[in-house]
Amino acid sequence: MFSFQNMTQEIHSWLSSLMSETFVMLVEMTIVGILAIALFAFLGLVLVYMERKVAAVIQLRKGPNRVGPFGIFQTSADTLKLVLKEGFMPDNVDKFLYKLAPFVVMITAMLILAPIPFAKGVQIWDINIGVFYLTAISSISVIGILMAGWASNNKYSLLGAMRSGAQIVSYELSAGMAVLSIVVLTGSLNLGDIIASQEDGWWIFKGHIPAWIAFIIYIIAVTAETNRAPFDMAEAESELTGGFHTEYAGMRFALFFLAEYINIFIVCAIGAILFFGGWMPFHIGSWTAFNHVMDFIPSFMWFFGKTFFLIFLIMWFRWTFPRLRVDQLLNLEWKYLLPISIFNLLLMTLVAIKGWHF
């Protein structure tokens, strides 16, 4: 069976035979850094292309198809153009924060990558409080958005930033509750353990109705947390023209744009890990023959397949629903999602303790 674990170990031992431990460390760090950047760039290009194609087909049109075969180089051209656009900063902005904001957003997006297992044995940092780490880091990106909105010295930006601040912190709660209900089931905060616990079936199937409710709440909450329509209050093009990035141009805007898509990927990856077993193939209880057949599909395919399915779900939301009004958005969280997710958590605890799950 194809496994990344052997590969990484082999590289490690090969490097160790060549040089001292510090150098091995440095070389590995460089490799990881380059791979992370490559993944970033690749995900950015693919997700934007995917979004445009999904939108196009839903809207009965063809979408980008003139730059390269099927328009696959369209997003490359866009990226290149954004890089080559004048990197321009308005006067009267808070220069330090204005420049810092895209970095904050990017660093946050990059840091969340650390504990995510992309395939069997491919994980940058196997941390034992992985879920907790993710919750902690993911709420930093709102600081970047607030910085950008405040520093821009633009009224639209400011309104967009304030909205997005209230929105992200609110939805953080119900997303956290949904994640907690899976933690209750597995009894571990380690992402590896959570995946391992789904070897005989994914939690979404094993966990009965509470798992479904938790999943629905999770997907709604993360849609809001990543500022995606129908919760794109922070941008709200028809209300606030550009929202928090109204005054950003060129590469700095591209970084926000990229970070948005990376964030979508990350939250969907977490969703896939928690509810769909991450890289774990589709296993059914004791059907060993069937499970073996499933094991032949490489684990990274499972991971990316599930993640992209969830990403598609979020895109589907975006191209179907209208935007909520900002007070309705908060009502939805505080009146519906939060109470439901709290009681769902209690229900899940009961299910877990009584062992009613499969």
Binding site: R61, L159, A236, P322, R323, Q328
Partner: protein, 371 residues
């Protein structure tokens, strides 16, 4: 690196919305005062597309001035032309052939459908849903194709001339309109499925932008805006013109007075338009499409007024003639101008998001307001 930032704390934020703003459907400029995110004051600032059509018409002949009115309310260009042609015919006292009248009504209703479809898509786009825009344009393109075949242009048709029509209908017209009716009837349910029944849309539109019937009359609102408040104002019904007294249709009245009522009025009006087209399409009388008129038209001295129902409401044309070949003074009472005046009253105390929803259901066409 860390400069001191001067902040003020008078609490209120004055924001310009427009002239270049995706939700103003053109170049309306609104100066809004915000307290938090609640609108406390709104002041429309017009004129960013004031093209002085009224002055221009004073130097155009009676055949020529009609074309410029297509550019006023370009979404109901046909109805604008219709009003102008009728006022010239009223002055000349020309009888229009039956065939021309029926075709005028047919094309008017198609234009109304096209306009309402565009409104539906654009309104949904304002509220943040992008797909309805594409679905509505799918049907709209069929109408524009029909228009193009018969009238020769897609938007500003200039098909009506004083005395009748510029050309007879295209031989394919009847068949294509019938095909369109079948297509439209099968798709109108999608509109409800995607937007009308949707809980987010309903929440965005219900209890937003309430306009009482008294205010609707006082502000002079017409069309779907007034009918959403329960004020009967359909000129087609109240003062029938052209072939409208030969067809049966209902005036849609909703009593809600909010954005959702206005939305429902337009959706139901589309169905009424279809029914008018269905009644007329098989009964286009034979005959001429044009009455005999002189090459140079001269209206007698006097004042003329013509009211028609465009997609946005009542269009009035007030024409003063001194007996020459050009109008002495012409005034277009545009529906959008009056509808806009109610906006300030409607948005007070609402959020920015509601402003967009209210403007969406007012269905403003800015060149129609500014002329």
């Amino acid at each position: 690196m860390f400069e001191e930032i001067k902040t003020s704390n008078d609490g209120e934020l004055v924001i310009n919305v427009g002239p270049q703003h995706p939700a103003t459907h053109g170049v309306l400029h609104l100066l809004i005062t915000l307290n938090g995110e609640t609108i406390t004051k709104l002041e429309p600032n017009l004129g960013y597309i004031h093209r002085s059509i009224e002055k221009m018409c004073e130097s155009l002949s009676y055949r020529q001035f009609i074309y410029s009115t297509s550019r006023m309310d370009y979404l109901s260009s046909h109805m604008n032309n219709h009003a102008c042609a009728m006022i010239v015919e009223k002055g000349l006292q020309v009888e229009i052939p039956e065939r021309a009248e029926v075709i005028r009504v047919l094309i008017s209703e198609l234009t109304r459908l096209a306009s309402h479809q565009l409104w539906w898509g654009a309104m949904a786009m304002d509220l943040g849903a992008l797909s309805p825009f594409f679905y509505s344009f799918r049907e709209r393109e069929v109408i524009t194709d029909i228009m193009e075949e018969t009238c020769g242009a897609r938007l500003t048709m200039n098909y009506i001339v004083p005395g009748g029509l510029m050309a007879d209908i295209h031989p394919n017209f009847v068949k294509r309109v019938k095909d369109f009716i079948i297509q439209f009837n099968s798709k109108i349910d999608e509109y409800d499925q995607l937007v009308t029944g949707n809980i987010i849309f309903q929440n965005r539109m219900k209890n937003v932008g309430y306009l009482s019937p008294e205010d609707a009359i006082s502000y002079g609102t017409t069309g779907p805006v007034a009918r959403g408040s329960g004020v009967s104002c359909d000129i087609r019904k109240l003062y029938p013109y052209s072939a409208y007294n030969k067809v049966k249709f209902e005036e849609i009245l909703e009593t809600g007075g909010d954005s959702f009522a206005r939305y429902l009025v337009r959706i139901k009006e589309m169905k009424q338009s279809i029914s008018i087209i269905e009644q007329l399409i098989d009964n286009i009388p034979e005959g001429d499409f044009q009455a005999k008129t002189k090459a140079v038209l001269k209206l007698p001295k006097g004042e003329f007024y013509q009211r028609v129902e465009t997609a946005r409401g009542e269009l009035g044309v007030y024409l003063v003639s001194e007996g020459g070949t050009t109008p002495y003074r012409i005034k277009f009472r545009s529906p959008g101008f009056s509808n806009l005046s109610a906006l300030n009253h409607m948005v007070k105390g609402h959020k920015i998001g509601d402003l967009v929803a209210i403007m969406g259901t007012l269905d403003l066409v800015i060149p129609d307001i500014d002329r």
